[in-house]
Subunit: 330 residues, 2 copies
């Protein structure tokens, strides 16, 4: 079975995993561990654990949904408490992982056990076990610490990040290194360029692992720019930024050329965000351009799996393209 | 398959169900819904739900423990948070049921879904869906409201309860009525006489259902007396009290005649509690006397399933006796 590793953490990774799990592949999700918002902050501060939200979303993406019981467990994992003085705002899946970490004695074992309970296809691997925070230095030399603070900027969203790092420094987790090494295909993105994708690349050992693997390296370009991270970025800028952090060229770049519904474009424009323009230069990279849009506008759901984007990649269309790259027949 | 209904709620019911689930029986647990302590109080007050602890314990008792994933889920269900400002003291299983009640839209459906997730053998049925509280009137005319307040008395533990009732009055839940009606054998106890066993009998419709069923009615006498409830009670007093509330004679009474370890007797004595003495008079009832003691002293475990008793019935020994009554071969 071909080994596919998806590196990321947010909604984009959720979509890629949801699509790929229908194929006979050996799937691993390598997940950013620098989340710092809401329920994660509580789990970090009060439980002394690593932030679980990205892990939780990947577990849900890979969960078996053919049985009623697992379907319900998936829903529970995404559920956010609306009641209870002590529980309001908590994500049930995060509490699930926190309780399980206490029972099993460590968080990695808890992630494995949760995977068994949800009957996941594949595995979810933290990119690092170091408790750390993202630090962004912007082109005006402002420094912002914390994934959540970078992700939801209360400053000029047209600023660009000059340098992303982790404080304290974090080292790659051995299992993450191993799956990257043994992969046939590694998928980066889509997802917030700095807070989801590059959040993994600033872990020491990850760029090295990505340079040393024989796997083909694919990047799926985001559909829209994001304020505070990629204001005004075209596809090329995304690609260059990733290659800068990992120190090697990408093998494949996947770009959506499907047309956005004008109503959605207008909604994004109000936020100073725009569909990513195609200014790609192949320059040795293989570029795949095709319609990858999900047909329907994303609806808000309980839980935060799809918390922000109005439009997203279609899991099936994405998976089809990726599997073609692997020359695996479905 | 023979239909067995176990009525109760606390540790005793847990033990009976744990033993019986190994046999090919159609099992139902009819569960008291008047719990008011700790996590239950929060779930009642802040979520507006019925107290889930007794349901949770029965779900755990009936859960499949042959698969690793279900074993872990069982542990989770019993887990009590030791960390987290908002979660400390909460029982995970109660939060599980609360979240599921919100997702499914009602608590009965949540109990059913949780049963599926835990792969339980049989079903767990709330005795009533009315939000209510136990009220005890003692022989000195003192009135105490609330299961928790009655269960852990801060008054003279030698007092006896003259009258147990519910405020507001609560009506039997249709499913509970149905399983009682269709049962072949109904098991009451062991368990705290007023707060676990009779807590079910004061629900209107329950005594009537127990009088009208063709099922054989078995009572398993407690091992020790309990302060504030059964101070100085012999086996006969337990039996008479139950018969008084249901308005019919029991068919079988099961009594342990195994010898208590002296060290345990001494521990109970310090609390003014004693092994229940055998002053039974058959008087038409079939009395089974045999060694039913679990060999080992009960250890404290995380969660509150076995929160208080130092010694308990052995699930296997109890189940063997009950199954013999049913003439079911194992």
């Amino acid at each position: 079975m071909k080994k596919v590793v998806v590196i990321g953490g947010g909604t984009g990774t959720f979509v890629v995993l949801s699509g790929l799990k229908k194929y006979p592949l050996d799937l691993s999700a390598v997940v950013s561990m620098a989340d710092s918002g809401g329920s994660n902050k509580i789990i970090r501060d009060e439980f002394g654990l690593l932030p679980p939200s990205d892990v939780r979303q990947c577990l849900v993406a890979l969960a078996d949904d053919t049985y009623v019981a697992q379907k319900t467990l998936r829903q529970l994992f995404m559920y956010r408490f609306a009641k209870g003085v002590g529980t309001k705002g908590h994500t049930f899946g995060n509490l699930f992982l926190a309780a399980l970490s206490d029972i099993t004695g460590n968080q990695v074992e808890a992630i494995k056990q949760a995977g068994k309970i949800l009957h996941i296809k594949g595995r979810v691997v933290p990119v690092s076990l170091t408790k750390t925070n993202l630090v962004a230095k912007y082109n005006n030399d402002m420094v912002v610490k914390g994934e959540h603070e970078i992700d939801e900027p209360d400053f000029d969203g047209r600023l660009h990040i000059k340098k992303l790092s982790l404080s304290p420094r974090a080292a790659i987790y051995a299992d993450a290194e191993r799956v990257i090494k043994n992969a046939n295909l590694i998928v980066l993105g889509p997802g917030d360029l700095y807070t989801s994708v590059l959040a993994n690349m600033v872990v020491s050992g990850v760029p090295e692992a990505l340079r040393n693997t024989k796997a083909q390296l694919v990047y799926i370009v985001n559909l829209v720019t994001k304020k505070g991270q990629t204001y005004g970025f075209g596809a090329k800028d995304h690609v260059f930024e990733i290659e800068k952090y990992i120190g090697r060229k990408l093998d494949f770049v996947i770009f959506n050329n499907g047309k956005f519904p004008p109503s959605i474009v207008r909604k994004y424009q109000k936020e100073n965000e725009h569909p990513v323009v195609d200014n790609l230069e192949a320059n040795g990279r293989k570029v795949v351009k095709t319609d990858l849009l999900a047909r329907e506008e994303v609806k808000k759901v309980s839980g935060d799996v799809l918390k922000r984007s109005l439009i997203r990649h279609d899991p099936k269309k994405l998976a089809k393209v990726l599997v073609k790259l692997l020359k695996v027949s479905s």
